[in-house]
């Protein structure tokens, strides 16, 4: 490692960013690209959010009022696709771009030109995906899980565009992950061992391997769909000797690791924030790393728990139930470590800490419903009901999305050099916290009471809680405009941030000036004592 660094030629020519739009189009700077990813993901978050509000508006009351059933199905499908692939994943990639080089003392990502490509593919991929709304037959309407044959023989013609868009997202993700892995393994500052890396770097390293492992599987399954649709193959067509269940196996072999792709970096973020505001080192760093790796490993061998009702033999049902239950162990270790970190600390509750604590509590609630869903015989009752909807929204919204918001508040002063408005930040937190719970907690009840998911209209006994849920959704949705206002206000000015920003913060990113200069760590740092909290 040190030999490489000694050869590194010192570049005295510190130039700043170019001017105008071309700065963003041609940039190879990890901070610029991180910013692009984050704004793109926020735009997609609002786009997917508007669709969610369309869904919740229709479900405000029984009966069909606002959207027709075929439009409703397009909204649920596109909401899922956009939130998963357009909002949550790019947000984490944006954070990785900004933070990984600064946390490991590297001057930039290892492959800056590829970094530029992997971002600029995304607007085209999502442009293509969104354009299907204007096509004959409308946008994809077969659910974000796009089960064949509904997504093949019975799909609208736009399915081909959907397949191409998914391919593009896959290419982008794979390039992004290669970049993260190469950066982390090759560009750490001299003397920083793997077990000295901040947990955010560790979780992203593992996430990147997950992405490389499963995005090709997704590409494979959509390619098989394409062949079935246009080239008369019968991978998933029972009448031609194919197997619709094969689709689900391949999809969930991608899909289960995918859900951990959306939560592991969140674990890293929370593991950075809680120690800072508890003013106490992270409890059980080593076990955090091993728990993350265990969760990643287990994610590959539990996929059929999404498919308990497809008619799997009892031996298979039992295996997938036991394997799924096992995930509770490393996940529990993480939660216990966070609680032990808080224990006997000296806590303050700035906005990032509020989001991080809410993450721990609400993610754990999502974990409990996940444990319930793992129990096969009971899953037969829960499967494809609003109980499942409540479960995965609890791990994704107050889970992944809250962690992203926590990260933005936490590192925004470093990025912009200004403190955000703490009062507004706390207001945003409480509105979001109340909104998210009012939206998704009642969905546990309507699911248990028997309401299937993905229906535009429902029987009268589900009416009360659906109305509550819709009110919460609008509260949560509109609160995010406040978030946008706070971020823009902070970019434009505010109280100047110190280099350290937070009293209890540790890590290399806090050793550089605020705002972080365009180029950082052109000379690698040497003191690794502060590498992680």
């Amino acid at each position: 490692m040190s030999a490489v660094i000694e050869e590194h030629h010192h570049d005295d020519h510190h130039h700043g960013p170019d001017k105008g739009i071309m700065r963003w189009v041609l940039t190879t700077n990890h901070k610029d690209i991180g910013t692009l990813y984050l704004w793109f993901s926020f735009l997609m978050f609002l786009t997917g959010g508007v669709m969610a509000l369309g869904i919740r508006a229709e479900l405000f009351q029984p009966g069909l009022q606002i959207v027709a059933p075929e439009v409703f199905n397009q909204l649920t499908t596109m909401h899922g696709l956009i939130m998963v692939f357009g909002a949550v994943m790019p947000a984490f990639v944006g954070l990785a771009n900004w933070l990984v080089p600064m946390m490991i003392g590297a001057p930039d990502m290892a492959l800056p030109r590829m970094n530029n490509y992997s971002f600029w593919i995304l607007p085209f991929a999502f442009g293509l995906l969104l354009s299907t709304f204007f096509m004959d037959g409308g946008a994809p309407n077969y659910g974000w899980t796009f089960y064949a044959p509904l997504s093949t023989d019975y799909a609208p013609p736009s399915v081909t565009f959907f397949i191409f868009a998914v391919h593009m997202m896959g290419v982008s993700s794979i390039m992004g992950s290669i970049n993260v892995i190469v950066t982390i393994l090759n560009m750490r500052a001299p003397g920083m061992t793997l077990m000295q890396m901040p947990l955010f770097v560790w979780t992203w390293l593992i996430t990147a391997y997950l992405l490389i492992a499963v995005m090709p599987v997704l590409a494979g399954v959509v390619t098989m769909m394409l062949m079935d649709i246009h080239f008369a193959t019968s991978f998933f067509n029972a009448a031609g000797g194919g197997d619709p269940v094969l689709f689900q196996h391949v999809f969930w072999f991608f899909g289960h690791p995918e859900v951990y792709i959306m939560i592991l970096p969140a674990f890293g973020i929370v593991s950075a924030i809680i120690p800072t505001f508890a003013r106490k080192r992270l409890f059980g760093y080593d076990s955090m790393v091993y728990a993350t790796a265990s969760i990643a490993f287990l994610s590959f061998i539990v996929w059929a728990h999404h498919m308990f009702t497809v008619g799997i033999p009892i031996a298979g049902e039992l295996y997938f139930m036991y394997a799924t239950m096992l995930i509770a162990v490393p996940t529990g270790v993480k939660v216990f470590n966070w609680v032990a970190t808080m224990w006997q600390g000296a806590m303050t509750f700035e906005t990032p800490m509020l989001f991080a604590i809410a993450f721990v509590i609400l993610f754990t609630i999502g974990g409990f419903s996940g444990l319930m869903l793992a129990i096969t015989p009971v899953d037969f009752q829960y499967h494809d009901t609003y109980f499942v909807v409540a479960h995965f929204h609890y791990v994704l919204v107050p889970g992944s999305v809250f962690s992203i918001m926590a990260a933005v508040y936490y590192w925004l002063p470093k990025w912009t050099g200004n403190m955000y408005d703490e009062t507004l930040g706390k207001t945003h937190f409480w509105l979001s916290f109340i909104g998210v719970n009012v939206t998704f907690f009642p969905q546990h009840f309507i699911g248990l009471a028997g309401m299937p998911r993905r229906i535009p209209d429902y029987a009268l006994q589900f009416a009360d809680w659906n109305m509550v849920s819709s009110c919460g959704a609008f509260l949560f949705g509109f609160s995010q405009l406040l978030f946008m206002f706070i971020v823009i206000k902070c970019i434009r000015g505010g109280k100047k941030a110190t280099d350290q920003v937070w009293e209890g913060a540790h890590g290399l990113e806090w050793t550089i000036p605020s705002p972080a200069p365009y180029h950082t760590f052109s000379t690698p740092p040497t003191d690794m004592k502060e590498a992680h909290g």
């Binding site: 059933p69 509904l150 008619g311 139930m321 529990g332 806590m347 299937p452 993905r454 209209d457």
Partner: protein
Amino acid sequence: MNRVKRMWQLGLSLLLFSNVALADWSALNLRQGVTEISREVYDLHMLIFYICCGIGVVVFGAMIISMLMHRKSLGVKPATFHENTNLEIAWTVVPIVILLGMAVPATSTLRDMYEPGDADIDIEVRGYQWKWQYTYLDDDPAKEIQFMSALMTPQDEIYNEAAKGEHYLLDVDNPLVVPINKRIRFLVTAEDVIHAFWVPDFAVKKDAIPGFVHESWAIVEEPGVYRGQCAELCGKDHGFMPIVVHALEQDDYDAWVAEKQSEAAAIFETVGKTWTQDELLAKGGEVYARNCVACHQVNGQGIPPAFPSLVGQGVTVGDIQENIDVLLYGRAGTAMQAFGQQLNAAEIASVVTYVRNSWGNDTGDTIQPKDIHTQMASQ
């Protein structure tokens, strides 16, 4: 045991949802159902739920205590510990033990559900976009009962032009009828896309997948009407294909079977007679409303391009034989199903007559049930 459980429920509901829950706990929780299996599932659900609540009290309790006591504003000094091997081993081992405690009853319930056994009645459940077909299998094909079961809720209730009935969206024209205390085997499959057959009160949910026949079973213990819905996204009207099961005493069930069989004989007779155009149009209107409206709409205009218009274009004003063929055998690769498997000859003949003479289509054609019957029989 039961009393303890009740008190738990009461306590929890007071704690969590105040008096909303007391009024109607059933609207918030899983149903106990009417089979031994469904009650077992309910008990397992409650067990896991209480265990989760217990863990939650400990974890969230520790967090809340910590948030109240370990605040900088109270002037505390942060501790410096950051690992404790014994503690970490404990919170790895204890969850494993708890999980084992969950796995044992879960395994036993699952084994009960998968227990093989001879069925008293075999019912094939076949999912179509967007209705169910039930076939009571019998070694003697003449005794086989087969019918379609579709949503009966009127469109004006759905579109808020009329008050919604008590069983809004959960009412069908022909419910599935089963006797109580008999082991009923459901053989679940589908014709087009994947559906899922779900009756919560029986704890039965099985995906209906084209090309596969999966089985599930139930022994219903109480007579009554049990309602469920399709649980797998199956296209536009996924939310509009309920399942209704009437469980009857054995005598009532036998009477129902006899009635169904004589009904089949009566239909056979009507196919033989010559129908007037008015009779065909009247019958055709009913058939259209039940089977065609969802896609082709009341005005026949459809929702192009997925569901084409029937007005002034295509087979409905073209070759009559082609029109009949599309209806009998469907159109491959589209949502147009092979209605020859779902409707009888009189229904096919009348609906063909209807579409060729409605909404300005004026071919003047009439087609007789007996001709359709000949064509269907020759296949």
